[in-house]
């Protein structure tokens, strides 16, 4: 009955109080006392509203701007100034945007899969198996992701050009995986290490190889960390711009990704910033990602505990 996650409502109020300062009342916590005064409910709702506003308001601005047309409307501080219309969305899709979406999905998807798989193995080894000089290894892994990417681009470009990897999906997801592995390994190592050893012992006693123990027992329990890592990797790969704009700058039909395509949008005349189409493209791109986040967030929070051993 190890139940990850905290019990509801009561602790919510408590934790809100703990963030806001010493508890206002010294209630005892025996049993399930529902102390929901009106003030508490109002307070909680207000806090929730502020948080939602804070997170979503700029997105709301994006949507409103993308629905506007006419030059002044796009640039006015008044959110609700029309005229409104769907022209910006039409314009976006006229530009092969679907192909860009496909490219980004493929590249980010492959990166996520590769990172999670390769990273899991490495993380398991770092967390569980006897390896010498782990701290050194961790530092080395970290170092890889720290060098300013802009300086790495010229040599990589030449190498990719020689290998014929320009304008290809693999030309993108291979370096993406490489540069995102450090973060993945750190996250997964942390989560694997936090799983009680006796669970594994139990599996071994049942005759499983370390390998099987890994799959059947550890991996499911580390699911929150794995899904969190997966989201992080996917979003990072999706939004990556520098390498994508260098290795696949044009040609949506081949490998041009979404951020690069958006950066290439032009206005109706020179100098004009196409804020309408940019925000429309952004909305088109963000909505599926929100859906993915909605799906994954459940996985992160609902710990898989069936069959675990008493701690």
């Amino acid at each position: 009955m190890s139940q990850p996650g905290t019990p509801p409502t009561q602790t919510a109020a408590a934790q809100r109080e703990s963030r806001e300062g010493p508890p206002k009342k010294k209630g005892s916590d025996q049993g399930v006392v529902e102390q929901r005064s009106a003030a508490q409910i109002w307070g909680k709702s207000a806090l929730l509203l502020v948080i939602l506003l804070w997170c979503l308001f700029p997105f709301f601005w994006l949507i409103m701007t993308s629905l506007k047309r006419g030059d002044r409307a796009l640039n006015s501080p008044d959110l609700f100034q029309g005229p409104f219309g769907l022209q910006n969305y039409e314009a976006v899709f006229q530009q092969d945007f679907l192909l860009n979406l496909r490219n980004s999905l493929a590249v980010a998807g492959m990166t996520t899969i590769l990172c999670v798989v390769i990273g899991s193995f490495a993380a398991y080894a770092l967390a569980r198996l006897p390896l010498k000089r782990k701290i050194l290894l961790l530092s080395g892994v970290l170092a890889v992701s720290l060098f300013p990417p802009v300086a790495l681009v010229p040599p990589l470009y030449e190498l990719w050009r020689t290998l014929g990897l320009l304008n290809t999906w693999e030309g993108l997801y291979i370096p993406y995986t490489s540069f995102t592995l450090p973060l993945t390994i750190f996250i997964l190592t942390t989560f694997f290490a936090s799983i009680p050893k006796d669970l594994e012992e139990a599996a071994r006693v049942d005759g499983a190889s370390p390998f099987k123990a890994f799959y059947r027992v550890i991996f499911p329990l580390a699911a929150p960390g794995v899904f969190a890592a997966a989201i992080i990797i996917f979003v990072a790969a999706w939004n990556e711009f520098l390498l994508a704009s260098t290795f696949a700058p044009r040609n949506a039909e081949v490998a041009q990704t979404v951020p690069v395509a958006i950066a290439a949008f032009t206005g109706a005349v020179e100098f004009q910033r196409p804020i309408g189409t940019i925000t429309a493209a952004c909305v088109v791109v963000t909505i599926p990602m929100i859906i993915v986040a909605l799906l994954f967030q459940k996985r992160i929070v609902s710990g898989l505990t069936a069959g675990s051993v008493k701690g």
Partner: protein, 423 residues
Amino acid sequence: MSRKWSRGRWAAAGALSLVAVAACTPGGGDGDGGEGGGEMVWALGGSEAQPGRVHQQVAELWSEQNPDNPIRIEILPDEADQQREQQALELQAEGSNFDVLGVDVIWTGEYSTNGWVESLEDVRAEIEEVSIPGAVESATWGGELWVAPYNSNAGFLYYRTDLIDEPPTTWDELCEMAIEAGQQEDIGGFIGQGSRYEGFVVNWLEYYWSDGGELYNEDQSEVVFDTDTATQVTEWLADAKESGCLAPGFNTATEEEARNLFQSGDAVFMRNWPYAYSLIQDDQQSPVRENFGIAPLPTFSGEGTISALGGFNNAVSAFSDNKEAAKEFVVWAATNEEVQALLATEASVPPTLESVYEDLSDDPVMALLGEVLPEAKPRPPAPQWNNISVEMQRNLFPAYNGEGDPADASQAVQEALEGAVEE
């Protein structure tokens, strides 16, 4: 349960990777290689390079007339810096994917010093005869013609006709009017491009040149920068900020912010390129739509006018497979009447062929351009122009915002200019 789960997961992963690999293979490769013989590639960016727009029409026109050597546009990103980066990647690798390059007026020296472009000295006479002198100046470096003029740009003074009777001829006059009318209407005074970027250097140079200052001498071999004039100009700008002559937001404004401010009626004067004219006119909701006019930029002395020259030139890549045809194309694009007129009539892109301006003097924008372009000065297309520009930005910008000393700033600019000549 976990067994099913991991199997399903592997299946999904396997399927996805199969799809990824399979879909990649046919499309993979180096993009469009420069096909041998025939088709040329014109690496160009911006809104007019998009399908159906004027540069595409020019390409089609050429291809019709030269079916053996057609040309097509490889569309680069909108921003000049990114265009330069993408061209640089190709040229540094000595690739033959691009035959003709759309080159900003300030890149001439850099491209020629790097050995990226073919000299056009042998066709210089042809071009020089018919093109705007400023454009030709921007196309030469070290006494040689390296690129062919194509289109141009100059700065205008936009003003509110409902608030101002006669456009000012000096900067001091402008400030007086700006403060008075601004206070009366409770709007900003003068908006230009004052953010810390290349556009600021353009604006500052317009003030500096209009006060008689120069950067280099005729053949760009000597620095003739006048630190006193420079200091004066920067101090004037700082005072203008203090006194309210400059509109709020001047120091974070690029072309678009300036246009938006003026277009929504919140500024009396604006310094901007011609592109804003049609946008303001066509904007049904703008309170300024019928109340604005354009005029040449003022100077400090009240005599004449000066503006900075912008625009794009065409170059022949040194690594092209088809240099002959490419050369013909760039000369044709610079000197052919039909093409240059098309730029003006189809897209209001200022041409570099002088004769076009005489034919189009009905159009207010073209008429003003015809007046102003002969006096437009290009920024020196030195190979180190970017370095110089960055030094100017970094020193002059804080100086006019009250965070640096104008005299020190001028000194630093002088040193940057001299450092570039030495190399």
